[in-house]
């Protein structure tokens, strides 16, 4: 990793960052070989001009997001840098709003006919922002976008057949492990569901106070996101409310809870807290995402590795997360907003996603050495190809259904419900949901 610092004009005004901290964070967060190569890219004028706005245009661009980790904030700065190359007189103000509040703020702003110019948001409730009238269609711009074909359908969000959001990158979960513990106990990462519990048992039996599994159990969107591979591994899905599949999935987890293979305190953990727990160094396995790669290189003081999630009898699916870029419905300068977004979707902009440990979505980057060269990203990339499903799931009253699943997952992690009860309550709860 070269010590050459990125040559980017940091015009963004995040309250979290001073220039010194950003630069240090950007390097630390990326921690990938060849960062200098990535960050040097913006100085080459490959930024495409696809909007009608004059490069002399001046004003302010408001971008709302929920990124609070150094590496992600650095990603925003990269995009801003690309944008400011073409539009040096536009001040980009990136505004952090906590994840749980961001969609509320956007919806509230809609009432006052205000809102961001650009929004970076990937929560499971994004359709609600559309319903409230907070978003503007990207279709006219996308139709003119030369790189439109680079983005697979799975990362494009449409409402009423119009494109509203596109994910420049994908985030998903995989199976992290503490190599030192595994070597000590003589265990290899499990490949199928059948291998999982025996692996945990072996770790626990070693008598060294190792915690076999750190996993998220909070009864909100985090719970549903986490339980998905396990429930779908037996064939459950929102289109196929298979109670016996759900029962098998919940029973598997209930067994971990009753045997003490996971920490019941996980019921108050989001994925960030789960990672915090893993950092402590006495946990054998963790289900968590690629975005932790940067922090992992900083904070993990032990040898670790990542493999694909164990596969169930029906293999199972993994939600493809990530933040689409959106345009606010009340932007006073849609051309400028699109100019920013087009930089996000451009090749150098998309490649910069690696900085945050995310996997670029563009087809022409799938075989880029930057992407394939990072061993920690390989399992994630494979999972995308073989097991990824769209997030949030479409159709029906999904949010309410997701909450039902999340609550039951949480109850199972806490050891308060056994598999059959949780499955029964889940199916009943989902069926009881009235159509929106």
């Amino acid at each position: 990793m070269s010590s050459q610092l990125p040559n980017i004009d940091v015009a963004s005004h995040s309250a979290l960052l001073s220039r010194r901290v950003f630069l240090r964070g950007a390097l630390a967060g990326a921690g990938l070989a060849g960062l200098a190569a990535i960050s040097a890219a913006p100085t080459v004028a490959t930024a495409q001009r696809v909007s009608q706005a004059s490069s002399n245009a001046s004003g302010t661009l408001n971008l709302w997001h929920y990124f609070n980790v150094d590496a992600q904030v650095g990603l925003l700065a990269t995009w801003t840098g690309l944008f400011n190359q073409l539009y040096p007189n536009i001040k980009v103000v990136t505004s952090y709003v906590e994840f749980q509040q961001l969609s509320q703020k956007v919806i509230a702003a809609t009432g006052a006919k205000q809102g961001p110019d650009v929004l970076i948001y990937g929560g499971s409730d994004l359709v609600q922002m559309y319903k409230a009238g907070a978003l503007k269609s990207l279709q006219p711009y996308w139709d003119q976008f030369a790189d439109a074909g680079q983005y697979p359908d799975g990362v494009i969000t449409r409402f009423d057949d119009q494109i509203y959001g596109v994910k420049p990158y994908v985030n998903l979960v995989a199976w992290w492990y503490n190599k030192d513990i595994l070597d000590d106990v003589g265990v290899t990462p499990p490949k199928t569901f059948a291998d999982v519990t025996p692996a945990f048992a072996k770790v626990a039996a070693a008598g060294k106070n190792y915690l076999p599994l750190a996993i998220t159990g909070r009864p909100d969107n985090q719970g549903d996101w986490t339980s998905w591979p396990w429930l779908t591994g037996y064939g459950f899905s929102y289109d196929n409310l298979d109670q016996s599949a759900a029962e098998q999935g919940f029973t598997l987890a209930a067994g971990w809870s009753s045997n003490g293979y996971l920490s019941k305190d996980g019921v108050s953990w989001g994925q960030s807290e789960t990672f915090d727990r893993f950092v402590a160094g006495d946990v054998a396995f963790m289900q968590n995402g690629n975005w932790n790669i940067g922090s992992a290189k900083d904070q993990l003081k032990f040898n670790y590795g990542i493999v694909e999630m164990p596969a169930g009898p029906k293999t199972g699916n993994i939600f493809l997360g990530g933040e689409p870029g959106w345009m606010g419905a009340f932007t006073s300068q849609p051309d400028i907003a699109w100019a920013y977004l087009s930089q996000v979707f451009s090749k150098p902009g998309d490649l910069a996603s690696l900085m945050a440990g995310s996997i670029p979505a563009r087809n022409d980057l799938a075989n880029d050495p930057q992407v394939t060269g990072e061993p920690l990203l390989v399992p994630f990339a494979n999972e995308i190809k073989t097991r990824g499903t769209e997030y949030p799931p479409q159709g029906g009253n999904q949010i309410a259904a997701q909450l039902v699943v999340a609550q039951n997952w949480s109850a199972v992690v806490a050891g308060q419900k056994d598999g059959p009860t949780a499955a029964e309550d889940t199916i009943a709860g989902i069926n009881a949901i009235k159509p929106a």
Partner: protein, 274 residues
């Protein structure tokens, strides 16, 4: 006056128990601000034995922190002044008036406090938008004052009830108007309660988060409460940084309180009527 209460050993034990009950979490809070991230979750072993580092403080000590502190102060001070300006006369009125207006007023005040803050955001967004106060600190001040005014009124009423009516009657007989009686006679006697309520309101507004993050847009206007909240999130937590900002944010508060507390003790002798 307090010398009357002999300081018996139960009180001493009580003080120590209080100190343990409040001091231990505070100790954990402060020590965590001196830890590295991977020492935070390590259990009892790092309660006492860990390698202290200033990393978190170095990280947060940026102009943004001071800026946010100024924002917090502006919001808290503005809210306190506005709330007291409206609430003190209202509490006085509700203490002195007769008839159903008082009971209805009090009932309303209680009910209005039950309004969930999260549910107020959408209507207030519209209201503030109409007055072009969005994205500004005065807008947040207005929202916070609306939140705290019922509470302030309720809290201050007994302090006004406690002032003997004879004093006011005497002044009125002398020809003073209602306003003069209030401003010159009654108010000085309610200093104790007013300052107490003011401190409480200041502290609540200082820590207020939801309205700040909802109604402000430019991150340079964000107060400390938002800065604290931004240390934990979907993609990562930084507990030492969170605790260090909390400590940094708490120190000026402690200072203000200690200063006003001394004045409070002395001010009482002046305010009492024998």
């Amino acid at each position: 006056m307090t010398g009357v209460m002999r300081y018996t050993w139960p009180a001493r034990i009580g003080a120590i128990l209080l100190l343990i009950g409040y001091g231990t979490p505070l100790y954990w809070l402060v020590t965590t601000s001196f830890k590295l991230s991977n020492d935070v979750f390590k259990g009892l072993s790092t309660f006492l034995t860990f390698v202290p580092t200033l990393a978190a403080y170095q990280r947060i000590w940026t102009p943004s922190l001071l800026h946010a502190g100024v924002n917090s102060f502006l919001i808290a001070a503005g809210t306190t002044l506005l709330t007291l300006a409206l609430g003190v006369p209202a509490a006085y009125a509700l203490a002195r008036l007769r008839g159903s207006i008082v009971s209805i007023g009090l009932g309303l005040v209680i009910i209005l406090q039950m309004m969930p803050q999260t549910a107020s955001v959408i209507p207030l967004y519209e209201v503030l938008g109409r007055w072009t106060l969005l994205g500004s600190i005065p807008g947040v001040v207005l929202a916070d004052a609306a939140l705290l005014l019922p509470f302030c009124t309720l809290l201050l009423r007994p302090f006004f009830l406690a002032i003997p009516i004879e004093v006011e009657e005497a002044a009125t007989v002398d020809g003073a108007s209602a306003w003069r009686v209030f401003a010159r006679i009654v108010l000085p006697m309610a200093v104790n309660g007013t300052v107490t309520a003011g401190i409480i309101i200041f502290l609540i507004a200082w820590g207020e988060f939801l309205y700040a993050i909802s109604f402000l847009v430019d991150p340079q206007q964000y107060p400390l409460s938002v800065l604290i909240a931004s240390q934990i999130g979907q993609y990562g937590n930084n507990w030492p940084a969170l605790m260090s900002i909390a400590v940094a944010a708490g120190l000026p508060i402690l200072l203000i309180f200690l200063v006003s507390y001394r004045r409070l003790r002395e001010g009482i002798a002046l305010g009492s009527v024998r």
